[in-house]
Symmetry: C2
Subunit: 261 residues, 2 copies
C-alpha cells in the first residue's frame, strides 16, 4: 500500500477514535451498566458494547469488504487472516474503567493478509493517542516517538499481570527478581504504552487477540519484540501467554522462563 | 492552631512545592547522578538530595525551631515528636523517577506534638497537588476532594508492593484473591493518591516514616484507615508494614492477614 493511502486511512481512524472518546466521556456521566463475562474479574459494560458498535459501524462504512474482530462480538466470526482484518478493543482495561474511571484504552489495528499495517492505542483519560505502523512510523499525538532504548531486564522495570504473579506461573518470580522492579497497571494498552515510551522493559500477560493486536504493530515498529513467552510468533486468531519486551530483555527472560510454560 | 495560621502555612508550603517542581523539571534536562543506598533496588539521585536541601532550607527559614525528618538525611536526628515536626520526602518513587521519568511524588507533612496538621503529595509530572489536613479538609489543586466511597475489598482494586507479592508475605495472595485485582505503581505517594481518589481500596507496603507521613494525614482526613497491617497505630519514628484502606477494606483484610505478620 502506498503512503498516500496509508495516510488517508490513518486520518479516518483518528476521526473514529476521537468520536469514540467523546462518546465514552459522555457515557461516563451516567451510571454504568456492568455485567460479568466469564468471571467476576472479567467485566463488560454498556459502554464497551456501544463503543464497539460505534467503531464497527465506522469501519463497515469505510471498508465494507473487511473482516472485523471485535472483543464484544459485534464483528465477524473470523476463521482466517486473509484480506483486510480490523481488530477492535473498545475498552481495554474494563476493570480499571469500572473501578477507577482511568487507566484504560481504546485500541484499533489493521492487518492485511496477516501483515501489520496500522495500530492505535488511545489512553482516553489522558487524551494521548499512540498511532502508526511499520511504514508510517510511530507517533504520540502526531509527534514522532523515538525508539525506546534497548535496555536489559536487570536495568528496567517489568509489568506482569496479577494472576501470573500471584500464582507464580512460568517461573515469573525469578524473572521479576532479575529486573529493577515489578509494576502493574491493569490494561494491556496502558502497559504497552509504557513499553513504547521506554518506561518498562517488558510486559507479560495472558492475552487475547484484541488485547495485543494494536500493541504488536506499534511495539514492533519501534524495534520491540512481541512473541509468546517461549519466543514463538503470535497467532492473530488465538489467545496466548504474550511477552512484549526490548530485544535485550527478551533475551534475558526467555532462558529464565525456559520450559516452565 | 487557628484557621488563619493554617492557611498562612499552607500558602507557604505550596510555594515551596512549586519551587521544588520547577527545580526537578529543570534537573531532569541533565544527566542524573544515580547511586545505590542499601541495595540496587534502593536508589538515590543528586536530584533527591538537592531537592531535600532546597525544601529543608525553606522550612528552616520559615520555622527555625522545627525539627525536620528528611529521607536523605539533611534534616535532624529526631528522637521524639515534640513540637513542630516536618517530614520531607523530596522524591518518593526514586526508581520510577530514574527509570520512567514519571510516576513519582514530592511529599511534605507537618505534625505538631505528634498530631496531624498538614500533608502534601505532589504528583510532579501530572502537576497534581493533593493538600490539606484534618482542619482544612483535603484538596486536589485547590479544589475540595470528596471522601472516597467506603468500598469493600471484594469490590475494589488493591496495591501491594512488589517484594511483598513476590515473596507471598503476610498471607497477601489470599488478600489479593479476595479483591477485584492487583495493581502496583511503585510509589507510596502515587499509590496513596489512588486511595484518596477512590481508585483503589487498599495499599500495603513496608514503609518508612517519610513514605507515609503526608499520606497518613491526607488519607485519615478523608475517612480512610492508616495503620500497621495488624491494625496498630503507626509510630511516626519507625518503619513498618503499613496498610492504608477504606474502613470496610481494612475490616476485610485484618482477619486474612491475622497472625501472619
Amino acid at each position: 500500500m502506498n503512503e498516500a493511502e496509508l495516510v488517508r486511512i490513518d486520518r479516518h481512524v483518528k476521526q473514529w477514535l476521537h468520536a469514540s472518546r467523546e462518546f465514552i466521556l459522555n457515557q461516563m456521566q451516567a451510571t454504568l451498566n456492568v455485567s460479568q463475562k466469564t468471571s467476576r474479574r472479567d467485566l463488560v459494560t454498556n459502554v464497551d458494547k456501544e463503543n464497539e458498535k460505534l467503531l464497527i459501524n465506522k469501519i463497515r462504512t469505510f471498508s465494507p469488504d473487511s473482516q472485523i474482530l471485535g472483543e464484544e462480538g459485534f464483528g465477524d466470526q473470523i476463521k482466517n487472516t486473509k484480506g483486510w482484518v480490523w481488530v477492535v478493543d473498545p475498552i481495554d482495561g474494563t476493570m480499571n474503567f469500572v473501578k477507577q474511571r482511568d487507566h484504560f484504552a481504546t485500541m484499533i489495528a489493521l492487518y492485511i493478509d496477516g501483515e501489520s499495517v496500522l495500530g492505535y492505542i488511545y489512553d482516553i483519560m489522558h487524551d494521548d493517542l499512540y498511532s502508526g505502523g511499520p511504514s508510517l512510523g510511530v507517533f504520540k499525538n502526531d509527534q514522532p516517538l523515538p525508539k525506546p532504548e534497548n535496555t536489559a531486564l536487570h536495568d528496567g522495570l517489568i509489568c506482569v499481570s496479577g494472576p501470573l504473579v500471584l500464582h507464580q506461573k512460568l517461573n515469573l518470580p525469578a524473572v521479576v527478581e532479575q529486573s529493577a522492579g515489578l509494576r502493574n497497571y491493569g490494561s494491556a494498552g496502558i502497559e504497552i504504552i509504557h513499553l513504547l515510551t521506554g518506561k518498562i522493559v517488558s510486559y507479560i500477560s495472558y492475552l487475547k487477540p484484541w488485547d495485543f493486536g494494536a500493541g504488536k504493530i506499534l511495539a514492533e515498529s519501534l524495534g520491540l519484540a512481541v512473541t509468546t513467552v517461549d519466543g514463538r510468533p503470535l497467532d492473530m486468531l488465538s489467545s496466548d501467554f504474550v511477552m512484549v519486551a526490548t530485544v535485550k530483555a527478551q533475551q534475558d527472560i526467555l532462558p529464565i522462563i525456559g520450559s516452565n510454560v
